[in-house]
Symmetry: C2
Subunit: 437 residues, 2 copies
């Protein structure tokens, strides 16, 4: 059997369909064929919409015929919503999370529910890395990253509480964005930690995630100007306009000794390429207090996640992982004062970050320590994502290289709170300035 071709990416597919060059049904069938080929070994989906339903359900709209992968922590009116937990194995909610309803309203289809770790915490699902089945795809948005990387869907929704969009996207060689805290609607998403949870987008280019973000972001924004990109007409092949050559703050972190030589070399090479194209890249560090934010973030997560899951662990001990039990135990030991101190630090540093980043278009850093770890038990160290989740700052990852084992390596860009539009434009410049990874 001849291997299937990778269907067009999100932006290109919507244009081809709008211009009548591709029928929605043909596009959907290409995606189904791709899934039929890759999914038996990939295990990216918990449940899929039957192909007949997909083809018959095509409706009008800017995204007519676009199949979207929905992380299985997000409510959909049909298919199961298992939250990655055997406790909810048979749960069919009968309603859509508002962001899913919005996706359907655009004419797009729910292609399927993608594998998440247990409640978006640590216990992994069955998904493998599309580049090497012996390696993790990362988590918790494992299935979303893998399905996009395998070319099954042009867009998937993920969620990030610590590093759950950026890390799997980087491990799977695709583009992921976690916008500013609050910038994307998260109603109908099973919470892990209310002061940290974000919904994110995974696609195959910066242009594609920017397009998704711009349509699906929260419309009741406090400072709308800073997060809105102008809409792109359907009759153009050109995506969002890149920024001019940016000034990038190349971040040193206290965890740089965890980074692999390959990842360091890939970053050095990318920086040289970006400088050659005109970017200014300067070494940069943050005050030490910022790095205490990672402990504070775990405090919030243990308190909020523990409070949410104490009932699960109590009522269903045999269907709760040791990771979940440990989260509850840690949360139980936390005082209200500890919790409030962490919230206070979060608010203070979120506001302060814009001052620290002043003079730069974005902070440049790594998304993970290196390639995806071997085995499926551990989805990887989220330390290079954690601070941006704590602060609620917009973060974007894109692939830059492959490891010796052929696994993807990426970079990450960060901007001040609610500077999402500028981050995406800067990311587009970076993407256009680097050779395809």
């Amino acid at each position: 059997m001849k291997p299937t071709k990778v269907p067009l990416g999100l932006f290109a597919a919507t244009r081809a369909i709008a211009q009548g060059k591709l029928s929605p049904q043909d596009y959907l069938q290409q995606c189904v064929a791709r899934a039929d080929e890759r999914e038996p070994s990939l295990h990216a989906f918990v449940a899929r919409t039957p192909t007949d339903n997909l083809l018959q359900g095509v409706s009008d709209g800017e995204w007519a015929g676009i199949p979207v992968g929905i992380k299985d922590l997000i409510a959909t009116r049909e298919l199961t919503t298992t939250n990655g937990s055997p406790i909810y194995a048979d749960q069919v909610l009968g309603y859509d999370a508002p962001i899913v309803a919005h996706i359907r309203q655009l004419g797009a289809a729910v292609f399927g529910k993608t594998v998440t770790t247990e409640f978006a915490w640590r216990q992994p699902g069955p998904t493998v890395n599309p580049f090497n089945a012996a390696h993790t795809p990362g988590g918790s948005s494992s299935g979303s990253a893998a399905a996009v990387a395998a070319g099954i869907v042009p867009l998937a929704l993920g969620t990030q509480t610590v590093g759950s969009v950026i890390r799997p996207a980087a491990f799977c060689g695709v583009v992921g964005v976690k916008a500013s805290f609050g910038a994307v609607p998260r109603e109908g998403v099973f919470p892990l930690s209310g002061s940290l949870d974000h919904v994110g987008f995974i696609a195959r280019s910066v242009n594609d995630v920017a397009y998704a973000f711009n349509l699906l972001r929260n419309k009741v924004a406090i400072e709308p100007d800073s997060i809105v990109l102008p809409p792109v007409p359907m009759n153009t092949e050109v995506g969002i306009e890149p920024s001019s050559a940016p000034r990038l703050a190349w971040l040193r972190t206290p965890f740089d000794d965890r980074v692999t030589v390959e990842q360091k070399q890939a970053m050095d090479k990318s920086v040289a390429q970006l400088r050659a194209k005109g970017a200014v890249v300067e070494e940069f560090s943050l005050p030490d207090e910022y790095w205490t934010g990672i402990d504070a973030m775990f405090c919030l997560l243990e308190c909020e996640g523990g409070a949410i899951h104490q009932e699960h662990v109590k009522r269903f001990p045999e269907r709760s992982s040791v990771h979940l039990k440990e989260l509850v135990e840690k949360g139980q030991a936390r005082s209200a004062f500890e919790y409030l101190a962490a919230r206070g630090l979060q608010q203070r540093l979120r506001a302060d970050a814009a001052t620290q980043f002043k003079g730069f278009d974005a902070v440049l850093t790594i998304p993970a320590t290196g390639e995806a770890p071997e085995g499926l038990a551990f989805t990887g160290d989220p330390v290079f994502c954690a601070l941006w989740s704590f602060l609620g700052l917009p973060a974007l990852t894109m692939p830059i290289a492959r490891s010796a084992k052929g696994l993807p390596l990426g970079l990450q860009l960060i901007a001040p709170y609610r500077q999402d539009a500028h981050l995406l434009r800067t990311g587009r410049w970076v993407e256009l300035s680097l050779p395809a990874a």
Copy 2:
């Protein structure tokens, strides 16, 4: 010496000044004369703007010549901001809280800083009840309520975390409103409990507080339509339009045995008068779970207030009251899970209240157990305000009668979250339908 006349109320004064019937300077001087007469025994002010500065500082604007009392917990660029604590006895902040800046921008003047209990918690200041100096004015917004009741200022800002606007307003026979949580800007206000703190308005009529609320409310409202009243032209003597005869839910509470016979009789009489004018008043009760909200409210207050004040108590034990020390001790003993359970209940019941109140324009209840208690040590039981502060629902009090000792008794109206405009219109109908108290 002939006693001074009570200067016009807020709405009437602004109209008289705009129409050239009263000069801003004359109005200010009437208020100064009133203060000079009453303040020596009232002790409503911590600091006053010198009269020359008031008269010379008159600027253009809808509120030109209007003197406003600012609770001494709210930042002002001159005068002290003591927060009611000896720790801050000499603090001059040099900047205005945004709501104070807005008041000045309207042409109004900061008449003075009004007495608050220590950090808006329990330790009282020196203010006495304007109707009987042997009785408390209530708290924590003691000076704001007393200054308005004494006719010194037509408007004062207060804050409410449990019952700190409604209770003193009721004890002093004036009108107070605490709008929906988040509906009035509170930046620059020293916090007591972030999830409970509200800024409120105290004036001499519903029309006056509605007018102040409408100009000074948060302009970035999530559901602006429900909190906005149409502006009233400067050339009209008519205030906000009252609702039609309302349907009122007359609330039974588990604390009704604390209510004095006088307060009960006053309410019965008011209800009869309102019914005679066409209101439908039905007995009403809430599910028991609502009343657990009062314990949850104290949990939030102990955690958030305790976390804020632990440094004060540690560094300045001799300048911190036993009440403040007790707050910190109670907060220290709280777990993060207890805190988060209280926040969860708050969010759930805030949303549910609209369902409970369905079919009614407002809930009718009492603002306090009865007249202001004797003595200054205890500012009164806040139990009839606490639930509305916990839920963040808009609350309005107005005077309805006098006790045998000549002290004011009031009623309180409550509406669902962000139904502020309708509450004020309903309150205006009630005010116009009752004989002057």
